[in-house]
């Protein structure tokens, strides 16, 4: 440990002054952060301590490796250098502080290697700042705008970072000059030719002045940070660490639904700590806004503003939440962003839903999860939106009027329409498909879903699926009238109670036939006759397949919340398996039309299934798949998810037509999909843009069934 050549403070008086300033800044910073942490502690509980090993791995990848932001290369690389620059500069800072006490960092203090690394990062951060300034000041991508925060926050931060590295470079330069090269740094050595002729006394004064300026900037930054968007610097590592390890497609279960006092979220106090931490972690980068299908077709939903709205509501309510007896209230600093007048309070923030977060925004969401997929800091937008819908539906009965009949029909008829569920198997009347009741030992249950069962267009899909299963000699059956709506649209719209009712009913049916993988049916014949009971279980592999990604997702990822564990696969994945096992033989390259494939949200982003449908299409189609600009995890929603298919689309451009136009831009003759809602939305979209002559919308199963028939 080598003490610095020259004391930066000039003696004990300066050092004492520095210590006082440092402690004051630390206390201010501490209370500000303490207040934010207390707000989280007082929030609703949520367990995020599962999968600890995975969490550590993710932390390394996303936080230290910056994998989230790097997906957008230009700002990503700039951010990478700023992030690592920040960490390295902390060591430099510590070294400078220790200088005031005639000390320095062990190992690093007089290590030339460290000095080089530090200065390289000073330069890299400076370059990154230029990139950021051009982006924010000249390019000005729309997603950086925020209706809640002025444009200044970003510039203040850039200015502060600039000051930090500028003063650091100047400290290094003048220290080098004042010590005549004894305090070696690359920057100091580089600028020495310019400074060597200056009077040594001036160099000394300049060195000390910039040392103080550097400290003042750093401490100012520290105090400013918890109030700015740069809070993400403190919160993001935690937010990434505590990200959800539950299946992406599962909304959280509303527990004890019959004994609760509230249902969902209308006030910010009803969010869990992790949901609030999302707000702290938001960097306001607006990537979520760039991909939102609602926003990009002119609907009033800005995913970023949902997150920031919740944060704003939290800050406005912080005084009340922290409570009169908290130290913060006693110090008079509990209201982080308290409104000054009752009018302000009334006008802006009470209640959160319907106030700072508009109900129109909440109803515009298609739950496509593009926002969550692109978010570099693991923010969970969709469950929050659904939580707020839950309150609107179950507490206020306030939802788009078209949805009332959907709820009533699911409740009474077990399907979204005014059709008796007894007719569920009518589509299959001429196809000789056994009901599971008639063939309870079937290997495969084909879960047809409401669309496949009742919607005329999608009955053709169901028929195709059945033909494929027959061609592959699969021993399968359907449930017929025993099948009931999975409840997915109800759950996404916010009617958790209806989803739980439907799910419970379906789970009972499926368990009754022994499909549960965790509690298989007990084979009665194996019960010992001598008082011993052997619980022999069905070991037969039993699979549920479905052509509806919404049924698929909720059965696979959400039914386990109520004890329904099943092996369920999307039909495209099952077909891919049949091909791989040579159980299904296709005339390869039979279909010669130019084809593009749309990844349904609930197959793709929800369940990370991108390649199986493409493999199947590549076998059957001589041209393979011509991709749309937005494909795989960037796929653009058809507009039907999240219950939107049951609501009117009154504002802006039509989402389905927007996607159909994208498909048309590939000059494909076929738009292939694997979701009944996508098919319905796109057929409407194709009609809407009058492209019936140019492009057909087909389910993958239809393309295959057609090839099988023509073989």
């Amino acid at each position: 440990m080598t003490p610095p050549t020259i004391s930066p403070t000039g003696g004990w008086l300066g050092t004492t002054l520095f210590v006082l300033l440092f402690l004051a800044a630390l206390i201010l910073f501490g209370t500000r952060v303490g207040r934010l942490i207390t707000l989280l502690v007082k929030a609703r509980p949520e367990d995020r301590t599962d999968h600890l090993n995975g969490r550590v791995g993710t932390f390394f990848k996303v936080v230290l490796g910056q994998s989230g932001v790097l997906r957008d290369p230009i700002p990503g690389i700039a951010h990478f250098f700023t992030f690592w620059g920040f960490i390295i500069i902390q060591f430099g800072l510590l070294n400078l502080i220790l200088g005031a006490f005639n000390g320095s960092l062990p190992w690093l203090g007089d290590n030339h290697g460290f000095a080089i690394v530090l200065d390289v990062f000073v330069v890299l951060v400076a370059l990154a700042l230029i990139v950021f300034a051009i982006r924010r000041g000249i390019v000005r991508p729309r997603q950086l705008n925020s209706s809640l925060h002025g444009p200044w926050d970003g510039f203040i931060i850039l200015g502060l970072i600039l000051l930090v590295i500028l003063t650091l470079a100047l400290v290094e330069s003048f220290e080098y000059a004042a010590s005549a090269g004894a305090a070696w740094t690359p920057i100091g050595a580089l600028l020495y030719p310019l400074l060597r002729h200056i009077n040594p006394m001036t160099n000394l004064v300049a060195y000390r002045t910039f040392w103080w300026l550097h400290m003042a900037t750093v401490l100012g930054f520290l105090i400013y940070l918890p109030r700015s968007k740069h809070l993400h610097l403190l919160a993001t590592p935690f937010n990434v660490f505590f990200r959800s390890y539950k299946p992406k497609g599962a909304l959280p279960l509303l527990e004890n639904i019959e004994e609760r006092d509230d249902y969902g979220v209308s006030k910010v106090e009803q969010f869990t700590w992790k949901q609030l931490l999302d707000g702290y972690a938001c960097t306001e980068c607006g990537r979520c806004n760039t991909v939102c299908p609602a926003l990009n077709t002119g609907k009033p939903l800005y995913p970023k503003e949902i997150i920031l709205g919740a944060k704003e509501a939290l800050f406005v309510r912080s005084g009340e939440i922290l409570g009169e007896n908290s130290i913060y209230n006693k110090l008079g600093i509990a209201g982080i962003k308290a409104d000054k007048t009752p009018e302000e309070k009334e006008a802006h923030h009470e209640p959160m839903v319907g106030g700072i977060i508009s109900t129109e925004a909440l109803w515009a969401c298609t739950t496509c999860m593009a926002c969550m997929e692109i978010c570099p800091v693991a923010i969970e937008h969709v469950p929050k939106i659904v939580d707020m819908r839950r309150s609107l539906v179950m507490e206020e009965s306030a939802f788009p009027q078209e949805v009332t009949s959907l709820f009533n029909n699911i409740e009474r008829n077990g399907n979204p329409w005014e059709i008796s569920n007894d007719k569920r198997a009518e589509w299959a009347a001429d196809l000789e498909i056994p009901l599971l009741a008639e063939n309870p030992e079937a290997d495969v249950l084909y879960w047809v879903g409401c669309m496949g069962s009742f919607d005329r267009r999608n009955q053709q899909v169901a028929t195709s699926v059945a033909k494929i299963l027959k061609a592959a000699n699969v021993n399968f059956a359907i449930l017929g009238p025993e099948e009931s709506c999975t409840g997915d649209p109800a759950r996404r719209i916010g009617n958790e109670y209806l989803w739980q009712t439907q799910a419970t009913m379906n789970i009972e049916t499926l368990n009754g036939y022994g499909f549960n993988t965790k509690t298989p049916a007990v084979n009665a014949e194996d019960q010992g006759s001598h008082g011993q009971t052997t619980t022999a279980t069905l070991t037969k592999h039993r699979t549920i397949i479905t052509a509806c990604p919404h049924c698929f997702n909720t059965i696979k990822n959400e039914y386990p919340q109520l004890g329904g564990d099943y092996e369920v696969v999307h039909h495209t994945v099952y077909i891919d398996e049949l091909l791989a096992n040579s159980k299904l033989k296709l005339p390869a390259g039979f279909d010669q039309r130019k084809l593009t494939y749309h990844d349904p949200c609930y197959v793709g982003r929800y369940n990370d299934t991108y390649e199986e449908p493409r493999r199947v299409l590549t076998v059957i189609n001589s041209n393979g798949v011509t991709e749309m600009p937005r494909n795989r995890n960037k796929s653009f929603c058809c507009g039907g998810g999240g219950g939107r298919v049951w609501m009117e689309e009154k504002v802006g451009k039509r989402i389905n037509q927007t996607r159909v136009n994208e498909a048309l831009s590939t000059e494909a003759e076929v738009l292939a999909a694997g979701c009944p809602f996508c098919i319905t939305m796109f057929e409407d979209g194709v009609k809407g843009v009058e492209a019936e002559e140019k492009m057909k919308v087909e389910d993958i199963s239809e393309i295959i069934a057609h090839a099988l028939e023509s073989k």
Binding site: E395, S397, T404, N413, I419, S420
Partner: protein
Amino acid sequence: MKMFVCIKQVPDPNTAISKLDPATKRLVRSGVSLVLDPGDESTISAAIKLRDKVGNSELVALSMGPASAQEATRRALAMGVDRAILITDPALAGSDAFSTAQVLAAALKKEGADLIFCSTESTDGYTGMVPGGIAEFLGIPQLTFAREITIEGQKAIIKRVIPKGYQTIESTLPAVITIASGSYEAIYPTMKGIMGAKKKTLTQMSLADLGIAATQVGEAGAHERVLSIGKAEARAAGQIIKDDGNAAQQIAEFLQRYQLL
């Protein structure tokens, strides 16, 4: 103010394949899904709105039917009705509109009602005679086809739907008001409503409670007899307008013909 809404459980009109029993010539009510009459849902919603607007009032759902009709009254309670009364008695089976009105009127008299809401007609029998019967038995005015209701002191004022628009009419209270179908959006129950409905009072009454003799009602006391039943004529095919330049005008004329424009 004491308000009542008369409701009925019916075979789900949206799904039930209406079956008529050739022997009794009546609608088959067993083995089909039974629901609160969807028409009553909007009547209940109208009543709830008015109760909340008037303030300091109680709204009671009143129904006559078998014990299974409790389900329908639960739905009304979940929607926001304060309590419910179900008149149920084996002797009531086979009651016609006349007896039904008589029984409901007896219960309303016993309870004392200021305002009684009914749907214009039920979605199963479609006689449309019960509301008038209640008014007659109670000797109070009946205001029909209301699409808007206001209470001013001891007066009810309604906008009454007529083919070419509406009339504004008023009457003294107590009164029976029937709601024009489609005028009120049905309330979808909240969770608090659904859970709260389990705790609300549901009173069962028998004929004895109302002091009505079994011979006056049911099959025995029916004044109506269904003579025969037959298939409804198949609806004629609709008119298809192809656009040859003046489709808009043709559509407008069509709508005008039915006074919809």
